[in-house]
């Protein structure tokens, strides 16, 4: 029996070009769908696989607006057993406050049900890319943590984690309980089954409202960077363009 907690974030599915609100402080999400941040989708899948092999419980936690319940249900539809929602007003939370709120919730749960053997995070959130919530949670709990993990083997007392480093893999062996930040590529998340979706719809969500807060980094504005390229010059159509393309390759020293 293994108890695994996965922390996920609701993020927008941005299109080819990000559109901002008029005051340039947020992404305009009115036309956008939402998803679990990609690395975390893989973290949920990994947790479900571990529990399928070993038995146990997968708890998924999110901190976010009321609509983030959709992402918890997405996780449930592929096999998560328990859903925990720390409900915010939808304003951004800084990574330090996010970690504190997660630690509070986690301690509450662990006091009641015993420790989570493994806590999984995504390596970084797709939107804010802060790279630190998992480490902060681990440090507060006094548990070891490694990020960037693309292979995980959970044993009885330890977990062996691999991360890519300079054309090879670094191996870490962490004592359980521990915290791991996973990267996309650790697995290929399954698609939810129809019965899975139906079950997820009915599943209870434990909701805890959170007070608003203001972090130390004060956002002034967001902007879309100027792109290095604007419009491609069309060399030609179909195979007729091939000779011209090879000419360019020669000119650039690509074909030697």
């Amino acid at each position: 029996m293994v108890r695994v907690l996965v922390c996920v974030k609701r993020v927008a599915m941005v299109g080819a070009r990000i559109v901002l609100t008029a005051d340039e402080t947020e992404v305009d999400v009115r036309q956008l769908g939402f998803t679990i941040s990609p690395h975390e989708e893989c973290a949920v899948e990994e947790a479900v696989r571990i529990v399928e092999q070993r038995g146990g419980v997968v708890t998924v936690l999110t901190l976010g607006p009321i609509e983030a319940a959709d992402q918890l249900r997405d996780a449930a539809s592929i096999g998560a057993n328990e859903l925990v929602h720390l409900v915010t007003d939808g304003k951004e939370w800084d990574p330090s406050a996010t970690a504190d709120a997660i630690v509070d919730a986690l301690r509450r749960h662990e006091d009641l049900n015993g420790p989570y053997d493994l806590i999984l995070f995504g390596n970084e959130a797709a939107d804010t890319g802060d790279y630190q919530v998992g480490v902060r949670v681990a440090f507060a709990l006094g548990r070891p943590c490694v990020n960037g993990v693309k292979n995980l083997v959970v044993g009885e007392e330890t977990v062996v984690a691999k991360r890519e480093f300079r054309g090879g893999d670094e191996l870490y062996e962490l004592a359980l309980p521990s915290v791991v930040g996973v990267k996309e590529g650790i697995n290929l998340p399954r698609y939810p089954s129809l019965p899975g979706r139906v079950r997820a719809k009915k599943m209870a969500i434990e909701e805890t409202p959170l007070e608003g807060h203001r972090g130390p980094v004060k956002l002034e504005r967001l902007r879309v960077p100027s792109e290095p390229r604007e419009r491609a010059e069309i060399i030609g159509h179909g195979v007729d363009a091939v000779e011209a393309l090879v000419d360019l390759f020669e000119q650039w020293g690509v074909v030697a």
Binding site: I18, S96, G129, D130, F139, A175, E184, G185, G215, R231
Partner: protein, 340 residues
């Protein structure tokens, strides 16, 4: 803002990573960033390496204007251990009256700084592009969001400020004049807890051109059509000495391993040439190839987003064009190699 706003005591401290060839490129960018931050208030720049400063590292630090180099000696451990690294930086920074600690936005840089933030209770700001002090404690900075598809301008109070540097948004620029870098060491004895996480082993993989370092990348997307469709792309990559990169759609379909994925959640590349074949150009993918020097796209759809992010485009079917391209390159090569 004026060139020098105010004078202040203290230093900017930069964690520098290196490999067998010397200081890694991401760290040269981080040093350049840290030097620019320091120059906004005439603050000296100190570099810290875990382990000895070799002659080639020293040359790089001099070239990049580092005033002092400190060899961190972490006793009892000769491998990467993020909390021990963070603790040694914490102790060093206390002895220096440090105003900011900077690291490259690598796996290690972000991780060590996150540990440092956790251990000190200080905020950490990841993937910065530029920063300067607007007064003794306030930093005005720009940082990447969405892996660089969006930029955040923000102000931030915190001493020392903990910052990591976006590796694909800041140039590695030598100082206008080299610095006479002094070198000394700093010893740190980690506790057992500090060593709870450390690298146990490194296993090399070998074979093929590494995607992140490739000078030429041949990319394939959904438009390649199938796993088998990659045959001609592999052949083309072989001819050009290129690495093969793929879009997220391709790894999600299971056609290719994730290690070949280019993009926000895959590998970020900076080749001289990126030839993107049958890739539509989603934000997620473009975030991984923004720093390519030249981009050529082959796409059936002349309105695909990638055409507004490429230098050149060929409109057409990858399945037809790539085999023709392979033949044309072979013909040129044999034409040149053949007898006059």
């Amino acid at each position: 803002m004026s060139e020098t706003t105010h004078e202040s005591t203290g230093v900017v401290l930069c964690l520098v990573e290196y490999d067998d060839d010397g200081v890694i490129d991401s760290s040269l960018r981080a040093i350049s960033f840290a030097r620019s931050l320091g120059s906004s208030s005439n603050t000296p720049l100190v570099a810290a390496t875990v382990g000895a400063v070799s002659p080639s590292i020293l040359t790089a630090l001099q070239t990049f204007g580092v005033d002092e180099a400190i060899e961190l000696v972490i006793e009892g451990v000769d491998t990467y251990a993020p909390l021990a690294w963070a603790r040694s930086l914490e102790q060093l920074s206390q002895s220096l009256a440090t105003r900011a600690i900077v690291a490259a936005g690598t796996d290690r840089g972000n991780e060590v700084m996150a540990y440092l933030g956790a251990a000190t209770g200080l905020p950490m700001v990841a993937n910065c592009l530029r920063a300067s002090w607007s007064d003794a404690t306030t930093i005005a900075l720009s940082r990447q969001r969405w892996a660089g598809s969006l930029i955040e301008d923000a102000v931030f109070d915190g001493v020392p400020a903990l910052l990591t540097v976006a590796f694909d948004g800041v140039a590695a620029e030598p100082a206008s004049t080299p610095a006479p870098t002094k070198v000394r060491d700093f010893h740190f004895s980690p506790s057992e807890d500090d060593l709870g996480v450390k690298v146990a082993e490194w296993i090399g993989r070998g074979g093929g051109v590494a995607l992140a370092d490739a000078r030429v990348v041949v990319g394939g997307g959904r438009g390649v059509g199938s796993e088998e469709g990659f045959g001609p792309l592999d052949e083309l990559a072989g001819l050009l000495g290129a690495a093969v990169g793929v879009s997220r759609a391709v790894t999600s379909a299971g056609w290719r391993p994730h290690a070949q994925q280019v993009g926000q959640t895959g590998t970020r590349i900076s080749p001289d040439l990126y030839l993107a074949c049958g890739i539509s150009g989603a934000t997620q993918h473009l975030a991984g190839c923004r720093s390519a020097k030249r981009v050529v796209t082959i796409n059936t759809d002349p309105d695909a987003p990638f055409l507004s992010r490429a230098d050149y485009a060929v409109v057409g079917d990858v399945a037809v064009i790539i085999p023709a391209l392979v033949e044309a390159i072979k013909a040129r090569k044999s034409g040149r190699a053949g007898p006059a």
